[in-house]
């Protein structure tokens, strides 16, 4: 049956989905290293939990869908999703929440839509959205860095072996800033709040600013390797910087600087690793610009005016919805048709 036609070209470039995914993982490694160093080894535990859960969920669904296991488990896409989930979840999130999020991402957001390449939404962001909606309290508890917890402590907290004391956790810098501004009711300015070095560090979240810088470097490496194109990150960062800059210039007391917004929360991770996901994102050159800019803009709006601590996940999910429309209206002109039409 399959033998009655030939399939040129016979020469093929040395490329595969696995190679693409492996390079994405490699680009995340420096950020993970800095994360481990600054925040603690909890992230490594979370990555392990999420990867296991992702592979398990993937294998289960592939069996149910009667698909071969080897090529799809080996393509690395589930691992990428797992790592991203681990990186966007609070590092001290209980293990079961990471498992629930990962399974939801793989089973519902990816496999139920047809598996690799078919998901309209970024699975990692779906996991984040589901968990922050379902477990808002747990999803906004970030490690209190003043405590300097070791591996054993973090391990015990993640697996529920020691009680989760309120003192162990704190809000993210973004959340803390928002609450601070709200409580201050116009009396306390951004500058005063940011002066607290224990929470905000040099220019964004304490410790987090260096991790986000690593995301930026990893992203630039991906661009250099031609795994991603320049459009989405540029538009994302540009839009986020533009709107935060404009409002910051308008009232620096009530709105944080672009630098703070770019280097806190998941902005850089979103710009280089999540919004660039080709499956759920736009694919045309102009479409990518619109997609990135939209995501950047929404990120800011949700962060500053919305009810959730960070807006990256919802912004990207919202833009995922628009992808088909964007692609439809941004088809590039083809060879020979640039002038006429």
């Amino acid at each position: 049956m399959s033998m009655d036609f030939s399939t040129p070209p016979y020469l093929l470039k040395n490329a595969s989905v696995t190679r693409v995914m492996t390079q994405v993982l490699l680009a995340l490694v420096p950020a993970i290293a800095v994360y481990t160093w600054l925040i603690g080894p909890a992230i490594l535990i979370q990555i392990a939990i999420a990867s296991l859960a992702a592979l398990l969920g993937e294998a289960l669904m592939l069996k149910v869908r009667r698909q071969p296991l080897a090529p799809f488990l080996g393509d690395g896409s589930a691992i990428v999703t797992a790592w991203l989930i681990a990186l966007v979840f609070p590092p001290l999130a209980p293990w079961w929440m990471v498992v629930v999020g990962t399974l939801f991402a793989i089973v519902v957001a990816k496999q139920l839509y047809g598996g690799l390449g078919q998901n309209p939404f970024n699975p990692a962001m779906v996991a984040f959205a589901v968990c922050i909606v379902s477990f808002p309290a747990l999803m906004s508890q970030w490690p209190n860095q003043a405590l300097h917890l070791g591996f054993a402590d973090q391990f015990q907290i993640i697996f529920g072996l020691t009680p989760r004391l309120d003192a162990l956790t704190a809000a993210t810098p973004l959340d803390a800033l928002k609450t601070g501004l709200k409580l201050g009711e116009g009396q306390v300015g951004v500058a005063a709040l940011l002066a607290n070095q224990d929470v905000y560090g040099q220019f964004a979240g304490r410790g987090w600013e260096w991790i986000t810088l690593c995301y930026l470097l990893g992203g630039l490496w991906l661009w250099q390797r031609k795994i991603i194109t320049w459009q989405v990150p540029t538009a994302y960062i540009g839009a986020l910087a533009a709107i935060s800059g404009a409002l910051w210039l308008y009232d620096p007391a009530q709105f944080a600087s672009p630098l703070f917004h770019l280097f806190s929360g998941g902005a850089m991770l979103g710009a280089f690793f999540i919004a660039t996901d080709p499956v759920s994102g736009s694919t045309t050159p102009r479409g990518k610009l619109i997609f990135g800019a939209g995501a950047g803009l929404l990120t800011y709006l949700i962060r500053v005016f919305g009810g959730y601590p960070d807006g990256v996940a919802f912004a990207i999910l919202l833009m995922n919805i628009c992808t088909p429309l964007i692609d439809l209206y941004t088809q590039p002109p083809i060879f020979g048709m640039k002038n006429g039409k």
Partner: protein, 220 residues
């Protein structure tokens, strides 16, 4: 269904108008009949309902008058969060003022307004607070309603019982997260923050206007 293709447009218009008119008259009549039949019962159960909520916030020992008819109508009152008219029930024991029952609104709930009913004794202590209407997230912010609160033995809302500005300084009327007195479930501080704020303001209003309210003539 009958059709009349021969009719011209105006003719058809007239015919349809007449038929629709007849239907409307007929069914409106049915509706009117049902309404008049059920009206007394509905009114009775509404009154019963009103009384039942009041009973929840105000112990029966504190009054012997007909609360539903000893009321004052307040215009829009910012202190109560009301941007419309609201009612104040006046409880009397043996003819002497004993407590006020106020309707208050917390406008800054997580999902819109939260309506409250609270009873304030004459000594400035809260007799009780109840949520009468809210749209807070189920499972997250809805524990302010004792029916939804998981802690059945001591629902969150009962924290207010017996409190006054004498026992708790006005500055401490905040949730613990903001450095105040009141507990709040982690992850859902917006709702209790709004409720605490509304109760504090309403209590203050009651303390300041108690005499004026008891003096003013009864509504109706």
């Amino acid at each position: 269904m009958s059709t009349a293709k021969e009719l011209t447009a105006p003719g058809m218009a007239a015919r349809s108008a007449v038929i629709l008119f007849l239907f409307v008259i007929g069914f409106t009549a049915v509706l009117a009949t049902v309404f008049s039949m059920t009206e007394p019962t509905i009114k009775a159960s509404a009154a019963e309902e009103e009384m039942r909520t009041i009973k929840e916030v105000l112990p029966a020992a504190l009054y012997d008058n007909d609360l539903l008819h000893d009321t004052v109508d307040l215009p829009a009152t910012a202190e109560l969060g009301q941007d419309d008219n609201s009612k104040v029930y006046r409880a009397r024991l043996a003819g002497q003022p004993s407590a006020l029952v106020l309707q208050a609104v917390a406008p800054d709930g997580y999902a819109g307004k939260i309506r409250l009913l609270l009873a304030v004794r004459n000594d400035g202590r809260l007799a009780g607070v109840r949520i009468t209407q809210h749209k807070e997230t189920p499972g997250l912010g809805d524990y302010i309603d004792p029916k939804k609160d998981k802690n059945k033995s001591r629902p969150w809302i009962t924290q207010f019982d017996g409190l006054s500005f004498d026992t708790l300084g006005e500055k401490d009327w905040k949730v613990k997260k903001d450095g105040g007195h009141f507990d709040a479930n982690a992850g859902a501080t917006v709702t209790p923050r709004a409720v605490v704020k509304a109760v504090r303001k309403a209590l203050k209003f009651a303390n300041e206007n108690r005499d004026r309210l008891f003096v003013s003539t009864a509504a109706k």
